[in-house]
């Protein structure tokens, strides 16, 4: 039988693994044979007291028939800053699609990218330009003379390519995949 402190630690791990509200019943079920609802509630009281201690960045909340682990409200600003910083090291799926189109079909205009993706991609193309993965390279000599986009030197460096001819052929990627599914 776990001690109240051990039970509190176990509940903390479960709440952290879930990342959302966990019903008290589910905590009782996870705690194992013979652990009662009252014991879980006592353990949660220990956990809550421990996090109330100022030094913790987290707190335990009781929400509608369960508990959840949450970040302290005072860190909201820091979290926004953090997400902004992290976003710079990441690409959305939409941006990746636009990058793929530019990489394989360059030079290409925004209307052409929009046509292939089926949605306006002005925002994601701007992101790619800001990240220096894509750059403007002249204008297409058609009505409206739209800007032409190409991948940059940084793009090649990031992906470890000597030049654009080193990009995998689409059939190549597909073949590897097919062999993969059959071979494993």
């Amino acid at each position: 039988m776990p001690s109240p402190e051990q039970l509190a630690a176990l509940c903390e791990a479960v709440l952290a693994a879930a990342g959302e509200v966990v019903a008290t019943d589910a905590l009782v079920g996870t705690a194992g044979e013979g652990v009662t609802s009252a014991e879980v509630e006592a353990a949660m009281e220990i956990l809550r007291a421990r996090h109330e201690h100022e030094a913790s960045g987290l707190l335990v909340e009781r929400v509608g028939g369960g508990y959840r682990l949450a970040t302290r409200p005072q860190f909201e600003g820091a979290l926004r800053t953090f997400l902004g910083i992290r976003a710079r090291a990441r690409l959305s799926q939409a941006a990746l699609e636009a990058l793929a189109i530019v990489a394989y079909r360059q030079p290409i205009t925004l209307p052409e990218i929009n046509f292939l993706r089926g949605v306006n991609s002005a925002g994601v193309v701007r992101t790619l330009v800001e990240r220096k993965l894509v750059k403007v390279s002249g204008r297409k000599q058609v009505v409206g003379t739209p800007l032409l986009y190409r991948t940059t030197r940084e793009f090649l460096v990031h992906f470890g390519l000597d030049d654009l001819s080193a990009l995998p052929r689409l059939e190549e990627a597909e073949q590897v995949e097919e062999r993969g599914t059959s071979g494993d």
Binding site: L69, A70, L79, A87, R90, Y104, L116, R117, L161, A173
Partner: protein, 257 residues
């Protein structure tokens, strides 16, 4: 089959299944280790025989895997035969087993490294990244640029092209024009003139090509418009007859047909 490929019958059948091995190197390593000799001094004849005996239980393996085992079977035979050849001491030739041994040593290192990783994984299997609810929720579909590779880029393009193909099904392709209205007018005009009363409907329904029927119908309507023929039908769905009016066909009027 080379008789050497068939191990003597008195040899004990292997008591293991080949499916437990990762490949020919894994099997060879197992056989060598069972001999409890230094890997640098493999009794190649024994190992060769045992390896071939093991291959006899290979029915359970598919052909691709079997092929990989057979390459090593042939190699072992080659080494075995070279070992039998007398070597001139002054030649100081390389031990025929050298390359095989080097491969086994390298593979053993791979297995050791894999075991290390398995050990690390075992400890960490039960660990999950801790997550707490936050006022600001991080976006879900973002990819870490650092771990993104060209295969992911190629994959993204395939996704785009497939979606585009789904949303833009190929445009109905028009067959090249094979029948000209002008030719059909001339043809029909000749037939109407010679037959007096031409069964247009039967003719249209018996054309092998639908496009030809359509062209013929247009030609018939043209003849009527130009006043060189009239159409009549006695009742609905009955035969449609085309009869000449006696008016000659004005060929120059067909210029733009």
């Amino acid at each position: 089959m080379d008789p050497a490929l068939v191990a003597p019958d008195e040899r004990p059948r292997p008591t293991f299944s080949l499916a437990v091995f990762e490949g020919p190197l894994d099997l060879l390593l197992h056989l060598v280790r069972e001999q409890k000799v230094s890997i640098w001094d493999i009794p190649i004849a024994d190992i060769c025989d045992q390896y071939h005996a093991a291959l006899r239980v290979m029915d359970e393996l598919d052909l691709e895997v079997a092929g990989e085992y057979l390459v090593y079977a042939a190699w072992l035979l080659l080494i075995k035969s070279r070992m039998l050849l007398p070597r001139h001491p002054e030649e100081a030739g390389e031990d025929p087993r050298k390359e095989l041994v080097e491969r086994l040593v390298e593979y053993e290192k791979v297995k050791a490294a894999a075991a290390e990783l398995a050990g690390l994984e075992e400890v960490r299997r039960g660990m999950v990244g801790a997550r707490a609810a936050a006022m600001v929720t991080p976006p879900e579909d973002e990819l870490e640029l650092e771990d993104l590779d060209v295969l992911a880029v190629a994959e993204a393009l395939r996704t785009v092209l497939e979606r585009h193909r789904r949303e833009h099904p190929p445009v109905l392709e028009l067959a090249p024009i094979r029948f000209s209205v002008r030719d059909k007018i001339m043809e029909l005009y000749e037939m109407v003139r010679s037959q007096r009363s031409f069964p247009l409907l039967s003719h249209l329904l018996t054309r092998p090509d639908r496009l030809e029927s359509v062209t013929l119908l247009i030609a018939a309507l043209e003849l009527v418009r130009l006043g060189t023929a009239t159409v009549h039908q006695r009742r609905a769905f009955a035969e449609i007859y085309l009869t000449p009016t006696g008016e000659p066909l004005a060929v120059e009027a067909l210029a733009d047909a």
